[in-house]
Symmetry: C2
DNA sequence: ACCGTATTCGCAACGATTGTTGGTTCGCAA
DNA sequence: TTGCGAACCAACAATCGTTGCGAATACGGT
């Protein structure tokens, strides 16, 4: 995620205004390395600016997404998650607790894909699903050391 | 997707009953190689059995998903899609028209993944996003031959 | 400082999905 | 064949995540 200053400049450059609410969100996202939902962001923003509306949070998140400054993830049914990490990475989802982590994948260009059939590929998203260490031990996975 | 007969047997085996409504759904899904939404399945089912309720469609789809006979996809915000193709494959999504296709990927095991960090991976989903041939030519892609 | 216009907020509405309830049907094991 | 219980439908209401609307407000180029 770019700095609040850079985001402010980018907003003004396309005719969007930099309000205190947006500054709060810029700051929160800049220092966020997780994958928060809109609700979670609203909660955090409310701490810094009581009364900020969920509507405004959605509005600004959508702006950031369409500017390409923020990635929107739909990894599970239910609420979308937002990813401030704009570097080239992929995701790891725990089926147990729903936690999401970033992973870095190399060698993707070497995989063989059949069925593209004239399709133009702009982006490739890889999602690994499984169980995080905490959930793995909690569910008594036989391949894991038990407590 | 397994045959309606196999699905019927599988349902009975876990104490679920094989009703005419379910048989219609089994048949529809068996011969479906697309990625229909629940709504689309309900529409098709209504043609074969007028009056079948959307509620029943959801119920049976959920049963099939939890039995592992059907895959539920959440490729975009909005409605879920269901994939009767249970073979090992991945997906291609057109950002233009929303169309979804199956693709087959080999060599995935050779990619290098950093950040797994004790995570147990059960499944890997790859989603290629881009533009289908129809949308590519319609949007005037400079790299495509124009009309 | 001014003014145009974007932004804000609260509330209503939306689409997708699930819960409920009550009455009826019907699969299927014994 | 009979009986139990599951499944069906209808008709809602409710939930969740998200967006549309409209009046009041405030950013920011000049």
């Amino acid at each position: 995620m770019r700095t609040p200053q850079e985001l402010s400049t980018a907003f003004r450059a396309i005719g969007l205004k930099v309000t205190p609410q947006r500054q709060v969100l810029f700051s929160l996202l800049h220092q966020n390395d997780g994958h928060p939902s809109a609700e979670a962001i609203h909660l955090a923003a409310s701490a810094a600016m009581p009364g900020i509306s969920l509507r405004t949070v959605y509005q600004t998140l959508n702006d950031l997404v369409s500017m390409g400054e923020l990635q929107q993830l739909q990894l599970t049914p239910g609420s979308a998650r937002f990813d401030p990490n704009t570097s080239d990475h992929h995701h790891l989802v725990c089926d147990g607790c729903g936690d999401v982590r970033d992973v870095y994948v190399s060698g993707l260009a070497d995989v063989d894909v059949r069925g593209l059939d004239g399709f133009r590929v702009d982006a490739t998203d890889v999602v690994f699903r499984g169980s995080c260490p905490t959930c793995t031990s909690a569910t008594g996975d036989p391949s894991a050391p038990h407590a």
